[in-house]
C-alpha cells in the first residue's frame, strides 16, 4: 500500500475518532483506565531509563570534553560546559525523543495488539452493530490518555536525566556536582521547556493514534495481530524521528 493511500486511510480514521463521545461517563471511565495503563504502568521503565541515560550521558560527555587531546587542550574547556551540554541535550532531545521512542515500543505495540485483537475477534463489529462509533470508542480514550500522561512522563524523565547526571558525578573525579548544576543553570532557557513539551505532545499523539490505526485495520488472525504491533512500532519510530527533525528545524534551526 502506498504512503498516500495509507495517509488517506489514517485521515479518514481520525475523522471518525475525533467525533464527540456517545456517553461521556463511559468515555471518562475508560480514559482514566487508559491513563493508568499508559502512564502509571510505564513510570518505572521511564524512571530507570532516564536515570541511567542521564548518568551515562554525563560520564561520556565529560570523557569527550575533559580528556586531553591534540584538538582541544583541556584547560580551555571549563568543567561546567559538561553540565550545560548534558542539561540542554536532556531537555531538547533525551527527555522527549528517547523517552517517546521507548514508549513507542511499550505503549504502541500494546495498543495495536489490543485493538487488533478486538478487530479479529469481531468485538469492533459488535460495537458497530450496536450503533457505537467503534473507531472513536476504542481509540479516543487512548489518545486523550496519551496526551495527558506521556508529556507528564517526559517531564519526570527530564528531572531524572539530570538526577542521573548528578549521580554520575559521585563516581567520577573529572566533574563535580557543582560543575554540573552551574552549567545547567547557565544555559537554561524557558523556550527549551516549551520545545520539549511541544515534542512530547506531538509524539504522544503519534504513538497513540498510529498504533490505534494500525490495530483497527488488522485483518487475519493471531499472527497478523503480532505483525500489527511490530508495524505500529516501526511507523511510530519513523514518525517520531521525522517530526523531531521538523520541530528542531522550526524552533532551533539557524
Amino acid at each position: 500500500m502506498s504512503f498516500f493511500t495509507e495517509l488517506g486511510r489514517f485521515i479518514i480514521f481520525m475523522r471518525f475518532v475525533l467525533k464527540r463521545p456517545q456517553k461521556w461517563s463511559v468515555f471518562w471511565k475508560i480514559t482514566f483506565r487508559e491513563m493508568h495503563n499508559i502512564g502509571i504502568e510505564s513510570l518505572i521503565v521511564v524512571m530507570l531509563i532516564a536515570t541511567f541515560t542521564g548518568a551515562v550521558t554525563t560520564i561520556q560527555t565529560a570523557n569527550q570534553l575533559l580528556t586531553p587531546s591534540d584538538l582541544f587542550p583541556t584547560q580551555l574547556i571549563p568543567k561546567f560546559v559538561v553540565g550545560a551540554v548534558v542539561s540542554t541535550s536532556s531537555i531538547l532531545e533525551l527527555a522527549p525523543t528517547v523517552t517517546c521512542l521507548v514508549l513507542a515500543g511499550k505503549i504502541g505495540a500494546n495498543i495495536a495488539s489490543e485493538i487488533g485483537n478486538k478487530k479479529i475477534s469481531e468485538q469492533i463489529d459488535a460495537y458497530e452493530v450496536m450503533g457505537i462509533n467503534s473507531a472513536s470508542f476504542v481509540a479516543l480514550p487512548k489518545i486523550i490518555a496519551g496526551l495527558i500522561m506521556i508529556p507528564s512522563l517526559v517531564i519526570v524523565a527530564n528531572f531524572l536525566l539530570l538526577y542521573g547526571g548528578a549521580l554520575a558525578t559521585k563516581f567520577t573525579t573529572a566533574l563535580t556536582y557543582d560543575d554540573l548544576i552551574e552549567g545547567a543553570r547557565m544555559v537554561f532557557h524557558v523556550p527549551y521547556i516549551k520545545i520539549m513539551l511541544i515534542k512530547a505532545f506531538i509524539f504522544a499523539f503519534l504513538i497513540t493514534s498510529l498504533s490505534s490505526f494500525q490495530g483497527y485495520y488488522t485483518v487475519g488472525g493471531a499472527l497478523e495481530v503480532g505483525e500489527a504491533g511490530t508495524k505500529a512500532v516501526t511507523k511510530i519510530c519513523i514518525a517520531i524521528l521525522f517530526f523531531d527533525l521538523v520541530i528542531a528545524q522550526i524552533f532551533l534551526g539557524l
Partner: protein, 243 residues
C-alpha cells in the same frame, strides 16, 4: 419485515453476491443456508451495514438502509441485535458487564434498573449464577447465550445470528435453536439466522433461503424441504453432504 432487492457485492474480481432478492418475515426464524464461502456471512454483514453492497436496496419495514445518513444509521442500529459466529463478547468484561454494556451506552436506566434488566435477559437465556464470570471462564454454549442476552438487552426489532451452532455439541445446539425460536416469538422480532446445520434447518426453518454460489437457489420452509431436495440438485447435494 426486511426486504432485499437486487443486492450485489463483489471483492476485486470475485462476485460474492449476485442479484439477491429476498424478504424476511417478522415473528418467525428465517434461515439462510449454504456451504462455506457461498456468501451467507457477506449477506448478513450487508444486512446489518458492516459491509456496503455494490448495488441493491435493503429496506427495514420500508426504511432504506442505504439512504440513511451516518447518524441515522447509528440510531437505527440500536434496533438491531447480533449474535456473532465467535460470540464477540468483550473479553475484559464479566458476563454481567457484557449484557449491561448496551444499556449503559444507550439507556437512561439507573444502575439498579440496569442490573434488573441484565438478570431478566440472562434468565431468558437460562443463565444463572454466572454474572461475575469472564467469557474465558464459561463454555461455548454459555458464551452463545450471553451473546443472545446482550443482543436482546435493548428493545430490538431485528436479530441476526451468524452460525449460532458452530462449535457446539448437538444437545447444546438444540437448546440454542429453541432459545432463538422462543425469543423470536416472545419479542415478535424479525430473526435472520445463518447456518449450515441441517438439523437446525429442519427443526426451526420457518423460512429457508438456500444460497449457492452467491445466488438465491431455493426458498421454502422446513415443511417443503423434501420437495426442495427433489427439485434442486444443489440443495439435495448440500443436504446429503450434511449427514
Amino acid at each position: 419485515m426486511i426486504d432485499v432487492q437486487g443486492l450485489n457485492k463483489s471483492f476485486t474480481d470475485k462476485h460474492v453476491l449476485n442479484d439477491i432478492n429476498l424478504s424476511f418475515e417478522a415473528g418467525k426464524p428465517n434461515l439462510v443456508i449454504g456451504a462455506s464461502g457461498s456468501g451467507k456471512s457477506v449477506l448478513l454483514k450487508c444486512l446489518v451495514g458492516l459491509m456496503e453492497p455494490d448495488t441493491g436496496n435493503i429496506a427495514y419495514d420500508g426504511r432504506l438502509l442505504g439512504s440513511m445518513g451516518y447518524q441515522e444509521r447509528q440510531d437505527f442500529r440500536r434496533e438491531i441485535g447480533m449474535l456473532f459466529q465467535n460470540n464477540a463478547l468483550f473479553d475484559s468484561l464479566t458476563v454481567e458487564e457484557n449484557v449491561e454494556f448496551p444499556l449503559k451506552m444507550f439507556s437512561t436506566l439507573n444502575a439498579a434498573d440496569r442490573l434488573d434488566r441484565v438478570n431478566e435477559c440472562l434468565a431468558k437465556v437460562n443463565l444463572v449464577n454466572c454474572n461475575s464470570k469472564y467469557p474465558s471462564e464459561i463454555s461455548g454454549g454459555m458464551k452463545k447465550r450471553v451473546g443472545i442476552a446482550r443482543a436482546i438487552a435493548l428493545p430490538i426489532k431485528y436479530l441476526f445470528c451468524d452460525e449460532p451452532n458452530s462449535g457446539l455439541d448437538p444437545l447444546t445446539s438444540r437448546v440454542i435453536d429453541e432459545l432463538l425460536v422462543q425469543i423470536t416469538e416472545d419479542l415478535g422480532i424479525t430473526t435472520v439466522i445463518n447456518s449450515h446445520d441441517m438439523k437446525t434447518v429442519a427443526d426451526i426453518g420457518h423460512k429457508i433461503v438456500f444460497i449457492y454460489d452467491g445466488k438465491v437457489e431455493w426458498v421454502g420452509s422446513n415443511l417443503h424441504l423434501e420437495l426442495g431436495y427433489s427439485e434442486n440438485p444443489a440443495l439435495s447435494a448440500f443436504f446429503k453432504a450434511s449427514f
